[in-house]
Symmetry: C2
Subunit: 328 residues, 2 copies
């Protein structure tokens, strides 16, 4: 039987989930839930319903997994513990520091209701976390490195747009090639986030704005840009739309470690992503873990889980036998 | 309580396991089992016993996991189903085509005895298999690529040494950079193993051997070299010992796929390994999965498992709480 998916929140991530469902024959979209007037929301899937978020209760028996596509700042801390009372749920909660608290809240509600809730699914947290864990377990003596980019940082782009005289802007986070090469060469450098990344800004000015002043304001903005090697390019709105309208991202997780009686042998594990669309890739990971949530629920499992707790085979539509014959 | 490990077979892999145990505070080596006279085998660990392979029965209650370090051709198909009758076992069985049969044999014996047997652990099969599975589950529309090297192929080095006039030799398998770049560029090329790899041979000749004849024989050897771009370098025994005595290896697993309503966005997942010592890295993976086997056994699980069936958290000595706080 197919896994019937509900999408809660229909922004970039929700649309990404909708597209990912189309690529998985054992998945189907049952309904999209929105805070807006459903009549005003048009979705891409013919057979699925569009409902108001207030009407989820009616869908309790028609949805196997609810994928919650809200934001980590205010939506998910409330929504995930709430909806796991009635559904198996998946979220992409990405405020690393608050994961223990979110886990505890979701776990208590999930165990009480007998559902499965998988939190912090995506690529970081998510696939990058998995690679940190595998790397540390295999090479216990070593160092971890995570680089982000090249990709669009939504937070930094928003910061640019708040500056007086800026009409529109996009900010790319870019890994420092020399730092990456030092890690690959086994030099085990000590690197701060600032030493690992540069920031490139594409800015459209308001009519009559002072470019030099805007550039100065960007480069001295505390936390966001002041301590980074930051470059600023002024371009037209047309150029921004044409060349910078995508939401690419990616990055690298490396584990550099040693083995041998005298630690004489070096090893490097490197995992990297190059993503044309950050939300669509995240959505694809969410859908794979929705398959796992449905299976675990059918096995009688309940409670909060993360990517660390899910055996890889649960993500695949193939049977154990097929996986062993084709991928092992 | 520590996980008490037995090592069955004390070659390069067994010694690698012994070294890896030293790097894990929750592991200890109980005994090494050898076909040789134990008095003739000296190991690196002071407190561990060296025993004849005929005496394993006495160790049933003193070993939590037996790591079987034999060869895939003749040792493991017999040893793993046999020893799982008395121990939790791990092996690195790597004859891909025979995995289904080996799994069935180990599974039947493990279930009958109530033990856990984890087979085909290492990097390929092993970590590479995991990355193929995760990549396929996340990007169901896409293509898989596995490249091996740069690294020493034992089988091809042996083939060189069987040639008349060859005193000693080492063969490196090298990924074709252009093929790798085409994959990274999203060109989705169709590539055979031959198109993905070249072969580089370092050969020491016997006194008076005919170099041209040996080179001709290498380059025309069916299966091993004839269809590859093969280079041959004649060097002295001293140079071979000095520059080619290591057992490095590595490789790349890539998943290139698309997402979006019209498949308009491309994504690339790349996992790579650069290993100074192939057996020591494999051994490090074996030891991490021994931790998982011990835990699963303590939970009452039995039967044959592969890396696909083991939740990542089982590999780490850290608790779920610690993992979520530090690595998610």
């Amino acid at each position: 039987m197919n896994t019937r998916i509900g999408i809660l929140g229909y922004g970039n991530l929700g649309r990404g989930v909708e597209c990912a469902i189309r690529q998985n024959a054992d998945m189907e979209l049952a309904a999209v839930f929105t805070r807006r007037n459903p009549a005003d929301v048009s979705i891409l899937t013919d057979k699925a319903a569009v409902c108001n978020i207030a009407d989820t209760a009616q869908w309790k028996d028609k949805i196997d997994v609810m994928i919650i596509c809200g934001g980590s700042a205010t939506d998910l801390p409330v929504q995930t513990p709430e909806y796991v009372k009635h559904f198996n749920v998946i979220d992409s909660f990405d405020t690393h520091a608050r994961i223990p608290e979110h886990f505890a809240n979701v776990d208590a509600a999930a165990k009480a209701s007998g559902h499965v809730g998988i939190i912090s699914v995506g690529w970081d947290p998510g696939m990058f976390s998995l690679n940190r864990l595998y790397g540390n377990a295999i090479l216990p003596e070593g160092k971890d490195y995570t680089f982000w980019g090249k990709g669009v940082s939504q937070g930094h782009s928003d910061a640019l747009r708040r500056i007086d005289g800026v009409k529109n802007a996009k900010q790319y986070t870019i890994p420092v090639e020399g730092a990456l090469e030092a890690v690959r060469a086994g030099k085990n450098p000590e690197l701060t986030t600032r030493e690992k990344h540069t920031r490139e800004c594409f800015v459209v000015l308001e009519e009559g704005a002072d470019a030099a002043k805007v550039e100065q304001e960007i480069k001295t903005m505390p936390n966001y840009f002041a301590d980074y090697d930051t470059s600023v390019h002024f371009i037209s709105e047309e150029e921004l739309q044409k060349n910078h309208s995508g939401i690419p991202h990616g990055g690298f997780v490396l584990r550099s470690g040693v083995t041998g009686f005298d630690r004489e042998n070096r090893h490097l594990i490197e995992y990297s992503l190059k993503l044309d669309s950050n939300p669509e890739f995240t959505a694809s990971v969410l859908v794979a873990y929705a398959r796992a949530a449905h299976r675990l629920f059918n096995e009688g499992v309940s409670g909060c889980k993360t990517v660390f707790d899910i055996a890889p085979a649960y993500l695949s539509p193939k049977s154990g036998e097929e996986l062993r014959a084709s991928m092992l």
